[in-house]
Amino acid sequence: MSRIGVFVCHCGENISRTVDVERVAGEAAQLPGVAYSCDYKYMCSDPGQNLLKKALAEHNLDGVLVAACSPRMHEKTFRKAAQSAGLNPYLCDMGNIREHCSWVHEDREAATAKASDIVKLMVERVKRGKALAPITVPVTKRALVIGGGIAGIQAALDIADAGKEVILVEREPSIGGHMAQLSETFPTLDCSQCIMTPKMVDVANHPNITLYTYAEIEKVDGYIGNFQVTIRRKARSVVEDKCTGCGVCTSKCPKKKIPNEFDQNLGMRSAIYVPFPQAVPNTPVIDRENCTMFQSGKCGVCAKVCGPQAIDYEQQDTLVVEAVGAVVVATGFKLYSIDRKPEESPIKGYGEFGYGLIPDVIDGLTFERLASASGPTGGKILRPSDGKEPRQVVFIQCVGSRAREKGISYCSKICCMYTAKHTMLYRHKVHDGQAYVFYMDARTPGKGYDEFWRRAVEVEDAVYIRGMVSRLYQRDGKIVVMGSDTLVGVQVEIEADLVVLATAVQAQDGADLLAQKLGISYDKYNFYSEAHAKLKPVECATAGIYLAGACQGPKDIPDTVSQASAAAAKVITLFSKDQLERDPVVAKVNEKYCVGCLQCKKVCPYGAVEEKEIRDRQGNLVKVVANVNAGVCGGCGTCQATCPSKSVELDGYTDEQIMAMIEAL
């Protein structure tokens, strides 16, 4: 016979106002198996907890039910108290007579009856509870960082500086990401390359960082502390160990007129190329689609001129498997492209801005390349169509953003600031040029941000026009901008030489596919979801995976770096333990009854169920049964509900417990 203790809480008056707590305690005492019951003003208070501990010892209780608030509130509190008095914490449960009873019912009689029922049900559950021990899993103290932009670089450096190994995987031939493309950065206007390249070099030289560029994540298995990651290293056609980065191949390559993606297709590159001079690693890659050798088999110039013989036309993709304990996802963003009619984009077209058919209508990132000292124009602002210096430049904000029906509903966050920066850069380079900005709101929260914007208006003479642009069209070598100034209430027309669109920040292409590989969730715009918008902004709901930078939502550099360091701190915290403890609510297979149908394996969302062969002493196969990996099991219990022979059971929610509760109805 069990010896259960029932403790009914008044919660001040929160419960006792509508529930007759004394009666509930009195009725509980009559329940079979209840050895002790009482009521108390505040069970969660120190004296309340002491009361519980004392009763445990004095009455030799083997189970505890606290009828009080929601277990989501205080289950931990009471389990801890029970544990300190020597009871297994999983033998302590709570009956929710506040949120589910006293607060939602007015009728005292009915509420009291319901509270008694709740106690009766829960007592049945406690009676059949099992003592459980927390599960421990080992931690592999290596981290995987996906994405080599500023977010990935920062996270990798922070983790590596803490003495942990890091695998950094980057899809492009060089790390650096978008930040490497920028000219100068707000709000201080320091040159992006100048602050970025030292960090890139640090990554390359760090003894704790293994860098895989031109590589992608193929597969992710395992769970927190124990991931196995398969990485596809795309064939570079250049052997990294042999290449010295001398650059002869790129200069001798006969095919030189390929638009350079890094320069937003404004500049040209060869078929064998490094995307930009400061690239890390400084190892070229052959663009096979544009290489004559790969297309027609006739050329081979690069191989001939390469002194160290690093060119390998036969190179194949290779797969590398790495074991890591934590993953930082830092895959960044892309800008909504204005180049073509969008097909599978949530943005339903901006044909009024020309669909990319007007050469002097460019996006913000292209303007960055124009303004960059290392860009295709050497830092001169020249319009793409005729290479002339534009006298009047119109900037249009919120292209795609904040357009719930036609584009995306969110604010892209960085455009107000970078547009203000663009007007300044333009004014610094073209002193008598005039910048106009069409905007809906100037959103500049951030340290020194509003001051920066006002400087653009008040000192650098940018004319800000509150209103949007209806249409752009070409006339006599100019772009006619049809806009409005809602502050005055008039239509505005400007003949611009160059138009720069602040297009929406979107999730990277393939962000959803990567999320599926990682088992993390994402929103309808494919931005990755954090576990809690406020209190867990870096963690994914999937344990052991963390987010950094714009892959989680539009972010500027300071925010990105902060989040990257936060993700790194989370990883380092995880790595500070040798073993991870986790809730023991997991499924267990009763091998005696299991017939090995493996229905459970099919339904398990975690892939926690494996086949297990049972052999006799001679090694003959007796039968195949299911086996649950406790480290992977999430504890949902779907297997148990599915199992036809009822031979898998979820600790804490056994059929016996639930049936007993139903019987007690």
């Binding site: 006298r391 106009y436 008040e458 004319v463 100034d485 502050l487 005055v488 027309e493 003949e495």
Partner: protein
């Protein structure tokens, strides 16, 4: 004019005008963020086609012509509420003064003839008599504005209470007054003052 399409270019943005306004008023127009607080508190805003904030907005866009084409600036009562409350210390009252001055100099495409007439008579009186001569001010105003019967009944009441003096006040400094007026005119002619 008010709703006419606005072409913006280096040619149509009259920064010269804006600079004059900024110089005369000693206040920046660019500092304005268009929060609208000036218009919110303006006792005269309901009488204006361009409320105060829009006047500043038009200045920011170098559209002095549009401002002077309307009469809004002549409805400003110089109560200084806008200036007092502006979160960015745009001295709108001074900007209004400057705009009226520029309109006055251009011999007023801004047509609030009654207000202008009253101002003109007031200043004329100072030049002639050194002090205000309310009887003449009222009488000439009514005569010139063609509103002969305006405040017709008030006159006798005021005269009987000694509030309206039939004769002007005496002043021995009349030459000095005239000298000040003509020196200012001289300075302007020479371009020494705006």
């Amino acid at each position: 004019m008010k709703n006419k399409l606005m072409h913006l270019s280096n040619e149509t943005i009259n920064l010269d005008f804006v600079n004059k306004v900024e110089k005369l008023s000693g206040s920046s127009v660019r500092r304005c963020m268009q929060c609208g607080k000036c218009s919110a508190g303006c006792p005269m805003a309901t009488f204006m086609e361009h409320p105060p904030n829009r006047i500043v907005r038009l200045l920011q866009l170098g559209q002095g012509k549009r401002i002077l084409a309307g009469r809004s600036i002549w409805y400003c009562a110089s109560c200084e509420t806008c200036t007092t409350r502006c979160p960015n210390t745009v001295n709108l009252a001074a900007i209004m003064d400057a705009l009226r001055k520029l309109s006055w100099d251009a011999d007023g495409p801004s047509k609030e003839s009654y207000v202008q007439l009253a101002n003109r008579l007031f200043i004329e009186n100072i030049r002639t008599y050194g002090r205000q001569y309310e009887m003449r001010l009222g009488a000439v105003f009514n005569l010139r504005s063609g509103r002969l019967l305006k405040d017709f009944l008030l006159g006798p009441k005021l005269i009987s209470r000694g509030k309206l003096k039939v004769f002007h006040q005496k002043n021995r400094n009349l030459d000095e007054i005239e000298a000040i007026f003509s020196r200012i005119e001289e300075m302007r002619k020479k371009g020494e003052a705006l």
